[in-house]
């Protein structure tokens, strides 16, 4: 009896909590409304199922509680009912899967005009690289990493010379243009997670991963590493500043490219001779 009432109260309480609690998805600042839509569809469908099954549970528990001389019925199976339930559950599942896969099809298809920004993770900080005027990131290898060449660029790769290097945990990007975030880690797994952008991906040492998004709101957003990366994991923060195009261009032009650093490396190599 009391358990029926308790389940009812918890069910209603959960629905009210959802409707009135101050906590929900942090307002979106990218193109990924299709992800938010899929979240919302999932909420409506699962919410309806949650209320329906639990209401039935409450009803059954209260109505069929043991009383004097009460006896259960004997009904081992009901093939028709079981088939109906299977069918409608499958329909519900298809209803959920459709918006989910639709959004994922968008996720895996990088727009052709997306501009490339590379984020590099290491314990426990972020740095960034832009491909420069040629639009191509120079090749990198862990074996080139040194104090003079923290990004590990290949000094002999001509594509790397104009790469813009941001040795800082703050990066600027322009608003309204699709961006392909290319991710690289020097040491362990990390995760480039800006909750407002929705899209995100792990950084995997030894390979290059990526995802894309279009920032839609000018502002300052925090990058939270979301893949455990050692004792400093919780301190691994960065900042993405979404600018209008001209502010962004002005900022990017002030950043240094790999060329001078590269010259230094060559000098070093020559001196060591």
């Amino acid at each position: 009896m009391w358990i029926g009432i308790a389940v009812f109260v918890l069910m209603v309480g959960s629905v009210l909590f959802h409707l009135f609690s101050p906590w929900y998805l942090t307002p979106i600042a990218s193109n990924w409304t299709s992800i938010d839509n899929a979240v919302n569809v999932t909420f409506w469908v699962t919410g309806a199922v949650f209320v329906a099954i639990n209401s039935f549970l409450v009803y059954a528990v209260i109505k069929y509680r043991n009383r004097k001389r009460s006896r259960a019925i004997y009904e081992p199976e009901n093939a028709k009912l079981e088939k109906q339930l299977t069918l409608w559950t499958s329909v519900g599942i298809a209803l959920l899967l459709t918006p989910g896969l639709y959004a994922w099809a968008e996720f895996v298809n990088i727009p052709g005009n997306a501009s490339v920004v590379e984020a590099i993770g290491q314990q426990w900080q972020w740095s960034f690289r832009f491909p420069g005027k040629d639009g191509v990131l120079g090749t990198v290898d862990v074996k080139y990493v040194s104090d003079n060449n923290p990004f590990g660029l290949n000094p002999d790769d001509p594509y790397g010379r104009d790469d813009v290097l941001i040795e800082d945990s703050t990066v600027h990007i322009p608003v309204g243009k699709p961006i392909k975030m290319v991710l690289r880690s020097k040491d362990v797994l990390h995760d480039f997670f800006v909750p407002q952008f929705r899209a995100r991906m792990n950084l995997v040492p030894g390979s290059v991963t990526y995802f894309w998004f279009t920032p839609t709101k000018i502002g300052k957003y925090e990058i939270l590493c979301a893949q455990l990366c050692g004792i400093g994991h919780y301190t691994m923060r960065g900042t993405v500043i979404v600018d209008d195009q001209s502010t962004f261009d002005a900022w990017l032009n002030k950043q240094r490219t790999f060329a001078p650093a590269r010259a230094g490396i060559h000098e070093l190599v020559t001196k060591r001779g």
Partner: protein, 581 residues
């Protein structure tokens, strides 16, 4: 006769003569079951205390002066691993599997009693190795229970020196122990059922444990090789999971390995592991509902097939843990589809549980309360799985508190509610004593309501985007003050739930010594374990002659029958109607 070989009493039983032979080096499945249960629950207590300690850090950062980030990560890691492997897996399969399989199937013991005994002692060794890691230089590993390389074995992660090695060794030893037990359970189910106990007359508890054991025998080897390979990477410098990398400014000698390979191995084990825990819980809760609602389980055959289908599908959904791992994103289409398909047989199980209560004669005994609590909690946890399984919906939620809330609801609280229900249900048979009803009720209410208050609101921290495994949040713009307040609230409730478990331990221990003597079949249940000549059952279980089974396990409230239950070993007569099996 199909069952002739092992079901017949061809082998003479050698009853142990010494106390040590009876209770320590025992080959009796019932003693081994209790040994497994006690060890698993004892280890689980460590995990419970750890969780309350790190919850204090989350709810009230800095409140424990000794709680460094190192210790925090070590505690969450050990909590997770102990709960999943050393508590839940060991308790359901080693504990309930050992106790119930021979008794419910009408066997005298497991088929290989000596191997069964070895299984427990090797399991104990695994626990000791695990616990030893608290006392070695550097402490236990703090790599997170998923132990993802490269960080698990690199500087910058606590316990990198010895802790990780002991963890991997302990897992490998556990898997050896489990394999000895698991082969036993499977062979016993297939070969040692008594006369008349067809597969489709087995209680669902046995079906759940049986299929879970098969899953475990197939899934644990993936973890085993993963553990061995990581151990080689750590000790011998091989590069199975290690690419070329710069650790703390230092070029290391690794080259060409794949961190994602480990994740595939881990989750190829890890997802079936969810069902290794869930299927025994599904089976046991079905029996609890049926017995205490005095009604047959609804749709028995469908329930059996759902268990088998869920078990099969659980092997092709593992990469839903890896949607944002950097694996080929096109895998997402397949794994999202397979994951959501598994929701269909799971939903059928939920419907059938509720339909079992429908038109039943529900007795609100303590085991029944836990069973109903399980249904509610499991519905909640199951539905949030539809968020995380659905690839694009998972993207913003992966690695946040939404995930923590989901898996605690679905494979933490839900199975543990079943564990409690099952312990209350079978305690009178195991000990011959009855526990205190009032204390049992109190324990239920505090645990059921408390755990829901912990985990339901936690989902919303995940929606905000709060990542899990953070020692502290400091000043983070997207974490409002109210979220910190919520975390403090959750911690307070977690402490209360933690402390309230003392009621359970008090009840179990006090009743063992001072509780009233239990009847041999206090719940008026049909299954064979309640029909033993002695309570607790003696060595060999059945006295001189094995029982013979004439009907399925669910003849409750059969029209025309004088009692509202007909035990499985009662011959069919003209008056009673029994299920076609």
């Amino acid at each position: 006769m199909v069952y002739a070989t092992l079901a017949e009493d061809l082998k003479e039983l050698h009853h142990p003569k010494t106390w040590v032979g009876k209770y320590v080096w025992s080959q009796d499945h019932k003693v081994i079951a209790v040994q497994y249960m006690a060890t698993a629950i004892g280890t689980g207590l460590i995990a419970l205390v750890l969780s309350d300690l790190f919850r204090l850090q989350i709810g009230f950062p800095g409140s424990l002066s000794f709680m460094t980030p190192e210790l925090y990560y070590q505690f969450i890691t050990m909590h997770g691993m102990i709960m999943v492997i050393y508590l839940l897996t060991a308790l359901f399969l080693g504990g309930f599997g050992n106790y119930l399989i021979p008794l419910m199937l009408g066997a005298r013991d497991m088929v290989f009693p000596f191997v069964n005994m070895m299984s427990y002692w090797v399991f104990l060794l695994a626990v000791l190795v695990l616990v030893a890691s608290f006392f070695v230089p550097g402490g236990p590993t703090g790599a997170g229970w998923t132990l993802y390389p490269p960080q698990a074995i690199l500087p910058g992660t606590p316990g990198r020196e010895m802790g990780i090695i002991l963890m991997l060794a302990s897992l490998a030893i556990f898997i050896i122990a489990f394999t000895m037990g698991g082969l036993n359970y499977v062979v016993t189910v297939l070969q040692a059922r008594t006369r008349g106990m067809t597969l489709m007359r087995m209680p669902l508890s046995i079906w759940g444990i049986f299929v879970a054991t098969i899953l475990a025998l197939l899934a644990f080897p993936a973890l085993f090789v993963g553990a061995v390979m990581m151990m080689l990477d750590r000790i011998l410098g091989t590069s199975f999971f290690m690419p070329a990398l710069v650790s703390m400014g230092q070029q290391l000698g690794y080259n060409g390995g794949s961190p994602i390979l480990f994740q595939h191995l881990f989750w190829f084990f890890g997802h079936p592991e969810v069902y290794i825990v869930a299927l025994p819980a599904f089976g046991i809760v079905s029996d609890l509902l049926s017995v205490h609602a005095r009604k047959n389980i609804f749709g028995y055959r469908m329930m059996v097939w759902a268990i088998v289908i869920i078990g099969g599908l659980s092997f092709i959904v593992w990469a839903h843990h890896m949607y944002v791992s950097g694996m080929n994103p096109y895998f997402g289409f397949f794994f999202a589809t397979s994951t959501l398909i598994i929701a269909v047989p799971t939903a059928i199980k939920v419907y059938n549980w509720v339909l079992t209560l429908w038109k039943g004669n529900i007795h609100f005994t303590v085991p029944m309360l836990f069973a109903i609590g399980f249904i509610f909690t499991f519905i909640n946890g199951g539905l949030t799985g539809l968020f995380l399984g659905n690839v694009s919906v998972d993207v913003p939620l992966s690695g946040t508190y939404f995930v923590v809330a989901h898996f605690h609801m679905v494979m933490g609280v839900s199975p543990i509610l079943v564990v409690f229900g099952a312990l209350y249900h079978w305690y009178p048979k195991i000990t011959g004593k009855m526990w205190n009803e009032k204390l049992g009720q109190l324990h239920f209410w505090l645990t059921f309501i408390g755990t829901y208050l912990i985990y339901f609101p936690m989902h919303y921290l995940g929606f905000l985007g709060m990542p899990r495994r953070y020692y502290e949040y400091g000043q983070t713009a997207l974490v409002p003050h109210s979220a910190h307040m919520l975390n403090a609230f959750i911690t307070v409730v977690a402490l209360a739930v933690g402390v309230s478990q003392l009621i359970f331990f008090y009840n179990m221990i006090w009743s063992y010594f001072f509780g009233p003597k239990a009847e041999s079949n206090p719940w008026k249940a049909t299954t064979l374990e309640w029909q033993t000549p002695d309570t607790p059952p003696a060595h060999g279980n059945w006295g001189p002659k094995l029982p013979t089974v004439y009907r399925w396990a669910y003849d409750y409230s059969v029209p025309g029958a004088p009692d509202d239950f007909i035990p499985q070993n009662v011959p069919a007569d003209g008056t009673s109607r029994h299920h076609r099996t």
